[in-house]
Subunit: 338 residues, 2 copies
């Protein structure tokens, strides 16, 4: 089969790879329906994370079950499945506590920009749809496997509730999906920080009521202006930089909550500052598996359409251009079709 | 009148001070029934916080209303009142959001180890009991004004719920009150970290089921042993040092919650570590006013007796010895009677 391999910063190639095989009896092999490039893939692509030896890329996928291991129950070849970037057995203590992305048998997916993918912990990880959904739903379901699940987690961790004011820091695909999540969870006011016209437009379509273009202290001042001087009830931090975390903590009202879902890079939180803010802080890799049944239903019912974050579609063999377009911010997110 | 004044590290004196007067029409003056020394008073006492010019000390009090300002409603001379170390108007946005200790008109009390005290924002801050309670309830009600309210907040911020496992870091008065709070909120298992026999005994009396004497990595390993290998659902951090915060974060299970209520001193939280732990973190000065009606009722009904944390009672004019006894860990907490 063929798939994406990263060799060095800004050097992603589409190459012939060994076909994945069942390794453990709990594995499944899927044929990729659609896959995509993630904002987090840009960290190594930009040389901001070590790459080491050349290796496959990608952790987002929907596809068709091709083969299952001897211990996989409830899945059969031909089914359309949605998964998560983190695999989970769905039975361990952490899974039962609602944190499948901290599953004791978790494996992070890492070779999904390819024609076929091996899924460990298949029974616990994959959710099959009742029937094969129309292709128009595939981008939305693909988004659910990562960015929409992560946006939902941001809203969950930030405790967005009916009638609340939500602030979304970040206008990438996760930030935009976080707007969808805040809206679905009943936020009355949704403020998004964005300087890009096309992203602002999509954010408004998804339910944002206010856009803040200022950054730093000016951005915080503008947020305070919009929130009666105190800040937002819930802040959804969808970037992962120190500056974004600062915006998030300063944008929350006393006693508000920050959900942070961008992998933090060189972020340290001062204990005394957090203390006197009364702000609650929770983040981590999204427990997507917990949300899958609900989010799949919302997509298939046409209630949400997170697939709109894909503003560039390329054949999988053009994966290198998919990275380039996102790196140069010509695209929010690139959909890849095998 | 007379009251405590700190001059330098380990130099607290009982001196003649000006009688407090109504300064703002929202003030009240109370005659102190009982007051006490707080663990946080030991920071400047030990020279770990700057002292500056000599100044009065103390922020815990119950007493009798002596005089009220012209705008104070609902309070009259002779009533027995319980307050909080932070004053609040009970009407601003932060108060309405449940965070009176972030009240927009907040003042931190700081001269309560004295015969009389001026209470700003008296109407919003003080809760009067229906009748003057028997003296046997005074220590418990005094504890409610700070350490018991703070222990309750630790349990609240750590989301202690029925059937859960709670870990209490710290065996000072706040940690011991946190045990009471965890028990009252239905925790099934309450683990307390303590190396002091008398404190362990009181913790067990308050509801602790397990005592961990190890510290550092060994302490964390012991906590994991006691919690099926994953850690506690809720951690109540009642110290404020970097080591205590480390214990708290490492002692929580993936997706668990840490409530931190000791004022952090040189504590920084690594963003990436917090991220991958899935642990939620919330702290701050306890919103005691929010809990007062409920906690007063629990004390007067004899349901809880946080007054037991006072293991030394001295006349107010012996306040210097009260500090010394706590500094030398001869006493958990000193009650002072004017």
């Amino acid at each position: 089969m063929r798939g994406a391999v990263i060799h060095a910063p800004r050097d992603v190639r589409f190459e012939t790879l060994a076909d994945p095989k069942i390794v453990h009896p709990t594995d499944a092999i899927i044929r990729t329906a659609v896959t995509c490039v993630c904002g987090s893939d840009l960290w190594p692509y930009r040389g901001l994370e070590p790459i080491g030896d050349p290796h496959p890329m990608g952790h987002e996928y929907v596809g068709f079950v091709e083969e299952v291991g001897s211990e996989v129950t409830g899945l059969r070849p031909g089914q359309f499945v949605v998964g998560s970037f983190a695999t989970s057995d769905n039975t361990c203590a952490n899974c039962r506590n609602g944190f499948p992305s901290s599953c004791l048998h978790r494996e992070f997916m890492s070779s999904c920009q390819a024609e076929y993918v091996r899924i460990p912990n298949a029974h616990g990880t994959l959710v099959a749809t009742d029937e094969v959904p129309g292709e128009e739903f595939w981008p939305g379901l693909l988004a659910v496997s990562d960015v929409m699940g992560t946006g939902w987690w941001a809203a969950d961790a930030a405790e967005v509730g009916p009638g609340s004011t939500a602030l979304v820091v970040g206008d990438g695909a996760v930030g935009l999906c976080a707007v969808i999540a805040a809206k679905e969870r009943g936020a009355e006011r949704i403020i998004v920080m964005s300087r890009h016209a096309s992203r602002q437009e999509l954010a408004r379509e998804f339910g944002a009521t206010d856009v803040v273009t200022e950054r730093g202290d000016q951005g915080v001042a503008r947020i305070k202006d919009l929130t009666g001087g105190i800040g937002a009830d819930s802040v959804l931090e969808c970037v992962g930089t120190a500056e974004a975390m600062r915006q998030a903590l300063h944008g929350a009202r006393p006693g508000g909550s920050v959900g942070f879902v961008g992998v933090p890079h060189e972020v340290a939180v001062d204990g005394q500052e957090l203390f006197f803010s009364h702000v609650g802080l929770r983040g981590g890799p999204a427990p997507v598996r917990r949300y899958l049944p609900d989010l799949i239903e919302r997509v298939l019912a046409g209630r949400i359409d997170p697939g709109k974050v894909f503003d560039l579609t390329l054949p999988l063999d053009d994966v290198a251009e998919g990275y380039r377009a996102m790196d140069e911010r010509r695209a929010i997110k690139t959909l890849l079709t095998p």
